[in-house]
Protein backbone atom coordinates (compact mmCIF):
# COMPACT_ATOMS: atom_id res chain seq x y z
CA UNK A 1 0.00 0.00 0.00
CA UNK A 2 2.82 2.36 0.89
CA UNK A 3 4.41 1.47 -2.42
CA UNK A 4 1.25 2.22 -4.34
CA UNK A 5 1.19 5.60 -2.67
CA UNK A 6 4.82 6.19 -3.61
CA UNK A 7 4.11 5.23 -7.19
CA UNK A 8 1.22 7.66 -7.23
CA UNK A 9 3.56 10.37 -5.95
CA UNK A 10 6.05 9.58 -8.70
CA UNK A 11 3.21 9.80 -11.20
CA UNK A 12 2.27 13.23 -9.92
CA UNK A 13 5.88 14.36 -10.04
CA UNK A 14 6.08 13.19 -13.66
CA UNK A 15 2.94 15.14 -14.49
CA UNK A 16 4.41 18.25 -12.88
CA UNK A 17 7.65 17.81 -14.82
CA UNK A 18 5.56 17.49 -17.97
CA UNK A 19 3.70 20.70 -17.13
CA UNK A 20 7.00 22.46 -16.49
CA UNK A 21 8.37 21.25 -19.82
CA UNK A 22 5.22 22.45 -21.50
CA UNK A 23 5.68 25.90 -20.01
CA UNK A 24 9.35 26.04 -20.93
CA UNK A 25 8.90 24.85 -24.51
CA UNK A 26 5.74 26.89 -25.06
CA UNK A 27 4.86 25.04 -28.23
CA UNK A 28 1.54 23.64 -29.36
CA UNK A 29 3.27 20.36 -30.15
CA UNK A 30 3.70 19.77 -26.45
CA UNK A 31 0.30 20.23 -24.86
CA UNK A 32 -0.03 20.52 -21.11
CA UNK A 33 -1.20 17.60 -18.98
CA UNK A 34 -4.46 19.47 -18.47
CA UNK A 35 -5.15 19.73 -22.18
CA UNK A 36 -4.24 16.09 -22.57
CA UNK A 37 -6.63 15.02 -19.84
CA UNK A 38 -9.41 17.09 -21.35
CA UNK A 39 -8.70 15.44 -24.69
CA UNK A 40 -8.72 12.02 -23.05
CA UNK A 41 -12.13 12.69 -21.57
CA UNK A 42 -13.30 13.94 -24.95
CA UNK A 43 -12.01 10.73 -26.53
CA UNK A 44 -14.04 8.68 -24.06
CA UNK A 45 -17.14 10.34 -25.50
CA UNK A 46 -16.17 9.51 -29.07
CA UNK A 47 -17.61 6.25 -30.44
CA UNK A 48 -14.77 6.10 -32.96
CA UNK A 49 -12.26 5.96 -30.15
CA UNK A 50 -14.07 2.98 -28.65
CA UNK A 51 -14.02 1.28 -32.02
CA UNK A 52 -10.27 1.70 -32.21
CA UNK A 53 -9.79 0.73 -28.60
CA UNK A 54 -11.83 -2.44 -29.01
CA UNK A 55 -9.86 -3.34 -32.15
CA UNK A 56 -6.62 -2.97 -30.23
CA UNK A 57 -7.94 -4.86 -27.22
CA UNK A 58 -9.11 -7.73 -29.39
CA UNK A 59 -5.76 -8.08 -31.10
CA UNK A 60 -3.96 -7.64 -27.80
CA UNK A 61 -6.13 -10.16 -25.96
CA UNK A 62 -5.64 -12.85 -28.58
CA UNK A 63 -1.92 -12.09 -28.82
CA UNK A 64 -1.48 -12.22 -25.05
CA UNK A 65 -3.30 -15.51 -24.68
CA UNK A 66 -1.44 -17.12 -27.55
CA UNK A 67 1.99 -15.80 -26.61
CA UNK A 68 1.52 -16.71 -22.95
CA UNK A 69 0.33 -20.23 -23.68
CA UNK A 70 2.89 -20.67 -26.45
CA UNK A 71 5.72 -19.13 -24.46
CA UNK A 72 5.12 -21.33 -21.44
CA UNK A 73 4.67 -24.47 -23.53
CA UNK A 74 7.79 -23.77 -25.56
CA UNK A 75 9.72 -22.82 -22.44
CA UNK A 76 8.72 -26.02 -20.65
CA UNK A 77 9.62 -28.08 -23.70
CA UNK A 78 13.04 -26.48 -24.02
CA UNK A 79 13.62 -26.46 -20.27
CA UNK A 80 12.85 -30.15 -19.85
CA UNK A 81 15.30 -31.04 -22.58
CA UNK A 82 18.70 -29.66 -21.69
CA UNK A 83 20.24 -30.05 -25.13
CA UNK A 84 17.31 -28.41 -26.91
CA UNK A 85 17.48 -25.58 -24.38
CA UNK A 86 21.19 -24.91 -24.88
CA UNK A 87 20.78 -25.07 -28.63
CA UNK A 88 17.81 -22.73 -28.69
CA UNK A 89 18.83 -20.12 -26.15
CA UNK A 90 21.25 -17.99 -28.19
CA UNK A 91 18.89 -18.13 -31.16
CA UNK A 92 16.04 -16.89 -29.00
CA UNK A 93 18.14 -14.16 -27.42
CA UNK A 94 19.19 -13.02 -30.87
CA UNK A 95 15.62 -12.94 -32.11
CA UNK A 96 14.70 -11.00 -29.01
CA UNK A 97 17.22 -8.26 -29.69
CA UNK A 98 16.33 -7.99 -33.38
CA UNK A 99 14.48 -4.79 -34.38
CA UNK A 100 11.34 -6.67 -35.28
CA UNK A 101 9.65 -3.71 -36.98
CA UNK A 102 11.85 -4.28 -39.96
CA UNK A 103 10.27 -7.71 -40.31
CA UNK A 104 6.81 -6.20 -40.40
CA UNK A 105 6.67 -6.13 -44.20
CA UNK A 106 7.17 -9.89 -44.18
CA UNK A 107 4.39 -10.30 -41.65
CA UNK A 108 2.12 -8.21 -43.82
CA UNK A 109 3.03 -10.17 -46.91
CA UNK A 110 2.21 -13.40 -45.12
CA UNK A 111 -0.80 -12.45 -43.00
CA UNK A 112 -2.34 -9.67 -45.03
CA UNK A 113 -3.85 -6.54 -43.63
CA UNK A 114 -6.33 -7.83 -41.09
CA UNK A 115 -6.17 -8.37 -37.38
CA UNK A 116 -4.06 -11.51 -37.78
CA UNK A 117 -0.97 -9.53 -38.82
CA UNK A 118 -1.19 -7.46 -35.67
CA UNK A 119 -1.73 -10.53 -33.54
CA UNK A 120 1.25 -12.17 -35.16
CA UNK A 121 3.32 -9.09 -34.50
CA UNK A 122 2.22 -8.95 -30.88
CA UNK A 123 3.18 -12.59 -30.45
CA UNK A 124 6.56 -11.97 -32.06
CA UNK A 125 7.24 -9.46 -29.31
CA UNK A 126 5.67 -11.23 -26.37
CA UNK A 127 6.51 -14.87 -26.91
CA UNK A 128 10.29 -14.88 -26.64
CA UNK A 129 10.73 -13.24 -23.23
CA UNK A 130 8.25 -15.63 -21.71
CA UNK A 131 9.91 -18.61 -23.35
CA UNK A 132 13.31 -17.52 -22.09
CA UNK A 133 12.09 -16.91 -18.55
CA UNK A 134 10.22 -20.21 -18.39
CA UNK A 135 13.11 -22.16 -19.82
CA UNK A 136 15.66 -20.64 -17.48
CA UNK A 137 13.33 -21.12 -14.53
CA UNK A 138 13.18 -24.84 -15.24
CA UNK A 139 16.91 -25.09 -15.83
CA UNK A 140 17.52 -23.34 -12.53
CA UNK A 141 14.77 -25.09 -10.60
CA UNK A 142 16.11 -26.96 -7.62
CA UNK A 143 16.71 -30.53 -8.83
CA UNK A 144 15.50 -31.78 -5.47
CA UNK A 145 11.90 -30.96 -6.45
CA UNK A 146 11.98 -33.41 -9.30
CA UNK A 147 13.77 -35.97 -7.17
CA UNK A 148 11.10 -35.58 -4.49
CA UNK A 149 8.43 -36.16 -7.11
CA UNK A 150 10.21 -39.30 -8.27
CA UNK A 151 10.47 -40.64 -4.73
CA UNK A 152 6.77 -40.07 -4.24
CA UNK A 153 6.15 -42.11 -7.35
CA UNK A 154 4.67 -39.34 -9.52
CA UNK A 155 4.30 -39.85 -13.26
CA UNK A 156 6.09 -37.36 -15.54
CA UNK A 157 2.73 -35.77 -16.33
CA UNK A 158 1.86 -35.41 -12.63
CA UNK A 159 5.34 -34.05 -12.02
CA UNK A 160 4.97 -31.34 -14.66
CA UNK A 161 1.57 -30.25 -13.45
CA UNK A 162 1.86 -30.51 -9.67
CA UNK A 163 5.54 -29.81 -9.11
CA UNK A 164 7.34 -28.16 -12.03
CA UNK A 165 4.68 -25.63 -12.97
CA UNK A 166 3.99 -24.39 -9.42
CA UNK A 167 7.71 -24.24 -8.75
CA UNK A 168 8.50 -22.00 -11.70
CA UNK A 169 5.35 -19.90 -11.51
CA UNK A 170 7.02 -16.83 -9.95
CA UNK A 171 9.54 -16.65 -12.81
CA UNK A 172 6.78 -17.28 -15.32
CA UNK A 173 4.86 -14.34 -13.89
CA UNK A 174 7.95 -12.16 -14.08
CA UNK A 175 8.34 -13.22 -17.70
CA UNK A 176 4.67 -12.57 -18.30
CA UNK A 177 5.00 -9.05 -16.93
CA UNK A 178 7.60 -8.26 -19.56
CA UNK A 179 5.84 -10.34 -22.20
CA UNK A 180 2.49 -8.64 -21.72
CA UNK A 181 4.07 -5.20 -22.00
CA UNK A 182 6.01 -6.10 -25.11
CA UNK A 183 2.97 -7.82 -26.60
CA UNK A 184 0.99 -4.60 -26.30
CA UNK A 185 3.91 -2.72 -27.80
CA UNK A 186 4.00 -5.14 -30.72
CA UNK A 187 0.31 -4.77 -31.44
CA UNK A 188 0.56 -0.98 -31.29
CA UNK A 189 3.59 -0.80 -33.55
CA UNK A 190 1.81 -3.05 -36.01
CA UNK A 191 -1.12 -0.68 -35.98
CA UNK A 192 1.11 2.32 -36.35
CA UNK A 193 2.78 0.98 -39.40
CA UNK A 194 0.08 -0.53 -41.54
CA UNK A 195 -3.46 -0.67 -40.44
CA UNK A 196 -6.77 1.04 -40.77
CA UNK A 197 -7.87 0.91 -37.16
CA UNK A 198 -6.73 0.43 -33.62
CA UNK A 199 -5.16 2.85 -31.18
CA UNK A 200 -1.81 2.67 -32.94
CA UNK A 201 -3.42 3.78 -36.17
CA UNK A 202 -5.26 6.49 -34.31
CA UNK A 203 -2.02 7.81 -32.86
CA UNK A 204 -0.24 7.69 -36.19
CA UNK A 205 -3.13 9.47 -37.82
CA UNK A 206 -3.18 12.11 -35.11
CA UNK A 207 0.56 12.55 -35.50
CA UNK A 208 0.19 13.13 -39.21
CA UNK A 209 -2.30 15.86 -38.49
CA UNK A 210 -0.23 17.34 -35.70
CA UNK A 211 -2.93 16.56 -33.17
CA UNK A 212 -0.63 16.16 -30.20
CA UNK A 213 -3.27 16.22 -27.45
CA UNK A 214 -4.75 13.04 -28.91
CA UNK A 215 -1.33 11.43 -29.24
CA UNK A 216 -0.42 12.15 -25.65
CA UNK A 217 -3.89 11.28 -24.36
CA UNK A 218 -3.61 7.82 -25.90
CA UNK A 219 -0.02 7.45 -24.64
CA UNK A 220 -1.17 8.37 -21.15
CA UNK A 221 -4.04 5.91 -21.33
CA UNK A 222 -1.73 3.14 -22.48
CA UNK A 223 0.72 3.91 -19.70
CA UNK A 224 -2.08 3.61 -17.16
CA UNK A 225 -3.39 0.38 -18.66
CA UNK A 226 0.10 -1.10 -18.70
CA UNK A 227 0.64 -0.07 -15.09
CA UNK A 228 -2.63 -1.64 -14.00
CA UNK A 229 -1.87 -4.87 -15.85
CA UNK A 230 1.50 -4.94 -14.22
CA UNK A 231 -0.01 -4.30 -10.82
CA UNK A 232 -2.41 -7.22 -11.29
CA UNK A 233 0.43 -9.53 -12.24
CA UNK A 234 2.48 -8.28 -9.31
CA UNK A 235 -0.41 -9.05 -6.98
CA UNK A 236 -0.66 -12.55 -8.41
CA UNK A 237 3.05 -12.90 -7.89
CA UNK A 238 2.82 -11.78 -4.25
CA UNK A 239 -0.12 -14.08 -3.58
CA UNK A 240 1.89 -16.93 -4.96
CA UNK A 241 5.16 -16.23 -3.22
CA UNK A 242 3.61 -15.83 0.25
Amino acid sequence: MRNALGTAVVFVVLLLAWEALHLVVANSSLPSPGTTLVQLVALFGDPDFWKHASQTSQAFAVAVVLSTAGGIALGVLLGMNRVAGTVAEPILVNLYSLPKVTLYPVVLLIFGLGISARIAFGIMHGLIPLTLFTMNAILQMKPVYRRSAAVMGLTPWQTSLTVVLPAILPEVITGARLGVSLCLLGVLIGEMFASRNGLGYMVMHAMERGDMPTVLAVALLLAIVALLLNAVLLMLDRAWRH
Binding site: V144, Y145, R147, A150, V151, G153, A167
Partner: protein, 277 residues
Protein backbone atom coordinates in the same frame (compact mmCIF):
# COMPACT_ATOMS: atom_id res chain seq x y z
CA UNK B 1 43.46 -46.90 22.58
CA UNK B 2 40.97 -46.79 25.34
CA UNK B 3 37.96 -47.81 23.29
CA UNK B 4 36.37 -50.80 24.95
CA UNK B 5 32.86 -51.22 23.68
CA UNK B 6 33.77 -50.90 20.03
CA UNK B 7 33.72 -53.91 17.78
CA UNK B 8 34.45 -53.89 14.12
CA UNK B 9 32.13 -56.27 12.37
CA UNK B 10 31.97 -57.75 8.94
CA UNK B 11 29.06 -56.33 7.03
CA UNK B 12 27.73 -59.65 5.87
CA UNK B 13 24.73 -60.65 7.94
CA UNK B 14 22.36 -63.62 7.93
CA UNK B 15 19.98 -63.25 4.98
CA UNK B 16 16.72 -63.45 6.92
CA UNK B 17 17.73 -60.47 9.03
CA UNK B 18 18.51 -58.06 6.23
CA UNK B 19 16.11 -55.42 5.01
CA UNK B 20 18.10 -53.98 2.14
CA UNK B 21 21.26 -55.28 0.57
CA UNK B 22 23.86 -53.92 -1.81
CA UNK B 23 26.32 -56.42 -3.27
CA UNK B 24 29.30 -55.27 -5.31
CA UNK B 25 27.52 -52.06 -6.26
CA UNK B 26 29.50 -49.52 -8.27
CA UNK B 27 28.36 -46.46 -10.10
CA UNK B 28 30.19 -44.80 -12.97
CA UNK B 29 29.09 -41.55 -14.61
CA UNK B 30 29.72 -41.04 -18.30
CA UNK B 31 30.78 -43.58 -20.89
CA UNK B 32 33.69 -45.73 -19.64
CA UNK B 33 36.92 -44.61 -21.25
CA UNK B 34 35.60 -41.17 -22.14
CA UNK B 35 37.60 -38.30 -20.60
CA UNK B 36 34.74 -37.10 -18.39
CA UNK B 37 33.95 -40.55 -17.06
CA UNK B 38 33.75 -40.52 -13.25
CA UNK B 39 33.90 -43.59 -11.09
CA UNK B 40 31.78 -42.21 -8.26
CA UNK B 41 31.14 -45.15 -5.99
CA UNK B 42 32.05 -48.62 -4.92
CA UNK B 43 32.32 -51.48 -5.01
CA UNK B 44 29.97 -51.43 -2.03
CA UNK B 45 28.70 -54.36 0.02
CA UNK B 46 26.11 -53.33 2.56
CA UNK B 47 23.45 -55.12 4.51
CA UNK B 48 20.96 -53.00 6.36
CA UNK B 49 19.46 -54.98 9.23
CA UNK B 50 15.74 -54.68 9.72
CA UNK B 51 15.05 -51.84 12.15
CA UNK B 52 18.59 -50.66 12.63
CA UNK B 53 19.85 -47.07 12.62
CA UNK B 54 22.79 -46.93 10.24
CA UNK B 55 24.87 -43.83 9.62
CA UNK B 56 27.26 -43.17 6.74
CA UNK B 57 30.11 -40.67 7.11
CA UNK B 58 32.72 -39.79 4.53
CA UNK B 59 34.46 -36.92 2.78
CA UNK B 60 32.57 -34.67 0.40
CA UNK B 61 32.13 -36.09 -3.07
CA UNK B 62 32.89 -39.65 -1.99
CA UNK B 63 29.59 -40.91 -3.33
CA UNK B 64 27.27 -40.84 -0.31
CA UNK B 65 24.39 -39.29 -2.20
CA UNK B 66 25.02 -41.67 -5.07
CA UNK B 67 24.74 -44.59 -2.66
CA UNK B 68 21.44 -43.20 -1.43
CA UNK B 69 20.21 -42.79 -5.00
CA UNK B 70 20.87 -46.45 -5.64
CA UNK B 71 18.98 -47.51 -2.52
CA UNK B 72 16.09 -45.18 -3.35
CA UNK B 73 15.86 -46.55 -6.88
CA UNK B 74 16.67 -43.12 -8.34
CA UNK B 75 19.82 -44.48 -10.00
CA UNK B 76 20.79 -47.88 -11.30
CA UNK B 77 24.06 -49.45 -10.18
CA UNK B 78 26.58 -49.72 -12.99
CA UNK B 79 27.64 -53.07 -11.59
CA UNK B 80 26.41 -55.23 -8.72
CA UNK B 81 22.93 -55.79 -7.35
CA UNK B 82 20.63 -53.85 -5.05
CA UNK B 83 17.78 -55.49 -3.17
CA UNK B 84 15.05 -54.20 -0.91
CA UNK B 85 12.96 -56.68 1.09
CA UNK B 86 14.23 -59.53 -1.01
CA UNK B 87 13.31 -58.02 -4.37
CA UNK B 88 15.76 -56.30 -6.73
CA UNK B 89 15.41 -52.53 -6.76
CA UNK B 90 14.05 -51.30 -10.10
CA UNK B 91 12.56 -47.83 -9.96
CA UNK B 92 11.55 -46.28 -6.63
CA UNK B 93 10.32 -49.17 -4.43
CA UNK B 94 7.16 -48.76 -2.38
CA UNK B 95 7.96 -48.46 1.32
CA UNK B 96 11.06 -46.29 0.89
CA UNK B 97 11.04 -42.66 2.04
CA UNK B 98 13.75 -40.10 1.34
CA UNK B 99 14.69 -36.82 3.02
CA UNK B 100 17.10 -34.94 0.80
CA UNK B 101 20.17 -32.89 1.55
CA UNK B 102 18.60 -29.68 0.26
CA UNK B 103 15.39 -28.14 1.52
CA UNK B 104 12.75 -29.90 -0.58
CA UNK B 105 9.63 -28.37 0.95
CA UNK B 106 7.36 -26.91 -1.73
CA UNK B 107 7.23 -23.15 -1.15
CA UNK B 108 3.83 -22.85 -2.86
CA UNK B 109 2.08 -25.13 -0.36
CA UNK B 110 1.29 -24.69 3.32
CA UNK B 111 2.95 -26.97 5.82
CA UNK B 112 -0.14 -29.17 6.02
CA UNK B 113 -0.48 -29.36 2.23
CA UNK B 114 3.20 -30.12 1.90
CA UNK B 115 2.84 -33.04 4.27
CA UNK B 116 -0.35 -34.21 2.57
CA UNK B 117 1.09 -33.90 -0.95
CA UNK B 118 2.37 -37.46 -1.39
CA UNK B 119 -0.71 -39.02 0.23
CA UNK B 120 -3.08 -37.14 -2.06
CA UNK B 121 -1.09 -38.13 -5.14
CA UNK B 122 -1.24 -41.72 -3.93
CA UNK B 123 -5.03 -41.53 -3.76
CA UNK B 124 -5.40 -42.03 -0.01
CA UNK B 125 -8.91 -40.97 1.07
CA UNK B 126 -9.39 -37.53 2.56
CA UNK B 127 -10.23 -38.55 6.13
CA UNK B 128 -7.18 -40.77 6.35
CA UNK B 129 -5.02 -38.00 4.86
CA UNK B 130 -6.21 -35.57 7.53
CA UNK B 131 -5.60 -38.08 10.29
CA UNK B 132 -2.09 -38.96 9.22
CA UNK B 133 -1.10 -35.38 8.43
CA UNK B 134 -2.35 -34.19 11.82
CA UNK B 135 -0.36 -36.85 13.55
CA UNK B 136 2.86 -36.21 11.61
CA UNK B 137 2.59 -32.43 11.94
CA UNK B 138 2.04 -32.79 15.67
CA UNK B 139 4.84 -35.30 16.04
CA UNK B 140 7.28 -32.92 14.37
CA UNK B 141 6.19 -30.02 16.60
CA UNK B 142 4.69 -28.06 13.73
CA UNK B 143 1.09 -27.94 14.95
CA UNK B 144 1.10 -24.15 15.34
CA UNK B 145 2.49 -23.77 11.82
CA UNK B 146 0.19 -26.12 9.89
CA UNK B 147 -1.24 -23.22 7.91
CA UNK B 148 2.05 -21.39 7.43
CA UNK B 149 4.13 -21.40 4.27
CA UNK B 150 7.73 -22.66 4.27
CA UNK B 151 9.05 -19.14 3.69
CA UNK B 152 7.75 -18.23 7.15
CA UNK B 153 9.71 -21.05 8.80
CA UNK B 154 13.32 -21.43 9.83
CA UNK B 155 15.58 -23.87 8.03
CA UNK B 156 15.22 -26.45 10.78
CA UNK B 157 11.45 -26.26 10.70
CA UNK B 158 11.44 -26.69 6.94
CA UNK B 159 13.57 -29.77 7.25
CA UNK B 160 11.02 -31.07 9.78
CA UNK B 161 8.29 -30.48 7.18
CA UNK B 162 10.23 -32.69 4.78
CA UNK B 163 10.63 -35.36 7.42
CA UNK B 164 6.91 -35.21 8.19
CA UNK B 165 6.14 -35.48 4.48
CA UNK B 166 8.21 -38.62 4.31
CA UNK B 167 6.87 -39.97 7.58
CA UNK B 168 3.17 -39.88 6.58
CA UNK B 169 3.88 -42.29 3.77
CA UNK B 170 4.79 -44.80 6.51
CA UNK B 171 8.00 -45.96 4.88
CA UNK B 172 9.69 -49.07 6.17
CA UNK B 173 13.07 -47.77 5.08
CA UNK B 174 13.89 -44.10 5.65
CA UNK B 175 16.87 -42.61 3.83
CA UNK B 176 18.14 -39.25 5.06
CA UNK B 177 20.83 -37.35 3.15
CA UNK B 178 22.51 -34.85 5.49
CA UNK B 179 19.12 -33.52 6.54
CA UNK B 180 20.62 -31.26 9.19
CA UNK B 181 23.48 -29.95 7.08
CA UNK B 182 22.37 -26.35 7.24
CA UNK B 183 21.44 -26.25 10.92
CA UNK B 184 23.39 -25.10 13.93
CA UNK B 185 24.65 -27.51 16.54
CA UNK B 186 21.89 -26.82 19.04
CA UNK B 187 19.10 -27.43 16.55
CA UNK B 188 20.86 -30.55 15.31
CA UNK B 189 20.81 -31.89 18.81
CA UNK B 190 17.07 -31.39 19.10
CA UNK B 191 16.45 -32.81 15.64
CA UNK B 192 18.61 -35.81 16.48
CA UNK B 193 16.46 -36.54 19.52
CA UNK B 194 13.33 -36.30 17.44
CA UNK B 195 14.77 -38.56 14.79
CA UNK B 196 15.59 -41.17 17.43
CA UNK B 197 12.04 -40.98 18.78
CA UNK B 198 10.62 -41.34 15.28
CA UNK B 199 12.83 -44.32 14.60
CA UNK B 200 11.78 -46.02 17.82
CA UNK B 201 8.07 -45.39 17.33
CA UNK B 202 7.90 -46.48 13.70
CA UNK B 203 10.48 -49.24 14.04
CA UNK B 204 11.57 -48.40 10.50
CA UNK B 205 15.07 -49.01 9.23
CA UNK B 206 17.00 -45.72 9.02
CA UNK B 207 19.99 -44.86 6.90
CA UNK B 208 21.42 -41.45 7.77
CA UNK B 209 24.09 -39.72 5.75
CA UNK B 210 25.92 -37.06 7.72
CA UNK B 211 29.24 -35.29 7.73
CA UNK B 212 29.24 -34.68 11.48
CA UNK B 213 31.17 -37.49 13.11
CA UNK B 214 29.83 -36.77 16.60
CA UNK B 215 26.28 -36.85 15.31
CA UNK B 216 26.87 -40.26 13.77
CA UNK B 217 28.41 -41.48 17.01
CA UNK B 218 25.47 -40.21 19.03
CA UNK B 219 22.57 -41.49 16.96
CA UNK B 220 23.49 -44.77 15.32
CA UNK B 221 23.59 -48.47 15.97
CA UNK B 222 26.28 -48.72 13.34
CA UNK B 223 28.43 -46.15 11.57
CA UNK B 224 29.90 -46.84 8.12
CA UNK B 225 33.01 -44.81 7.29
CA UNK B 226 33.63 -44.24 3.60
CA UNK B 227 36.88 -43.52 1.78
CA UNK B 228 37.38 -40.66 -0.67
CA UNK B 229 35.97 -41.16 -4.15
CA UNK B 230 35.33 -43.79 -5.38
CA UNK B 231 33.81 -44.36 -1.96
CA UNK B 232 34.08 -47.78 -0.37
CA UNK B 233 33.43 -48.67 3.26
CA UNK B 234 36.76 -48.63 5.07
CA UNK B 235 35.20 -49.32 8.44
CA UNK B 236 31.87 -50.22 10.00
CA UNK B 237 31.61 -49.44 13.69
CA UNK B 238 29.12 -50.96 16.13
CA UNK B 239 28.25 -48.36 18.77
CA UNK B 240 26.46 -50.62 21.18
CA UNK B 241 23.92 -48.03 22.36
CA UNK B 242 20.57 -49.00 23.88
CA UNK B 243 17.48 -48.62 21.72
CA UNK B 244 16.09 -46.29 24.39
CA UNK B 245 18.73 -43.66 23.96
CA UNK B 246 18.62 -39.92 23.53
CA UNK B 247 21.07 -37.03 23.50
CA UNK B 248 21.88 -37.62 27.17
CA UNK B 249 24.46 -40.15 25.98
CA UNK B 250 26.81 -37.25 25.13
CA UNK B 251 27.83 -37.41 28.77
CA UNK B 252 28.58 -41.13 28.45
CA UNK B 253 32.34 -41.67 28.27
CA UNK B 254 31.89 -43.96 25.29
CA UNK B 255 30.54 -41.01 23.24
CA UNK B 256 33.90 -39.27 23.42
CA UNK B 257 35.69 -42.51 22.63
CA UNK B 258 33.53 -43.13 19.58
CA UNK B 259 34.00 -39.59 18.31
CA UNK B 260 37.74 -39.79 18.79
CA UNK B 261 37.83 -43.13 17.03
CA UNK B 262 35.90 -41.80 14.04
CA UNK B 263 38.18 -38.75 13.83
CA UNK B 264 41.19 -41.01 13.84
CA UNK B 265 39.81 -43.11 10.99
CA UNK B 266 39.11 -39.97 9.04
CA UNK B 267 42.57 -38.61 9.72
CA UNK B 268 44.25 -41.80 8.61
CA UNK B 269 42.21 -41.78 5.43
CA UNK B 270 43.05 -38.14 4.79
CA UNK B 271 46.73 -38.76 5.22
CA UNK B 272 46.64 -41.77 2.93
CA UNK B 273 44.84 -39.71 0.38
CA UNK B 274 47.30 -36.84 0.65
CA UNK B 275 50.24 -39.15 0.28
CA UNK B 276 48.73 -40.68 -2.84
CA UNK B 277 48.38 -37.30 -4.53
Amino acid sequence: MTVVALAEVASVMPADDHHARLAGVTRVFGRPGSPNCVHALGPIDLDLRRGEFFSVVGPSGCGKSTLLDVLAGLAKPTEGTAEFEGRPIDGVPAGVGVVFQEDASFPWLTVADNVAFGLRRAGVDAAEVTRRVDYAVGFMGLKAFAGAYPAQLSGGMRQRVCIARTLVMQPRLILLDEPFGALDQQTRLLMGDELLRLWRETSATVLLITHALDEAAMLSDRVGVMSARPGVFIDVLETGWDVDRDSRIVSHPRFGDLTGHLWEKLRAESLKHMREN
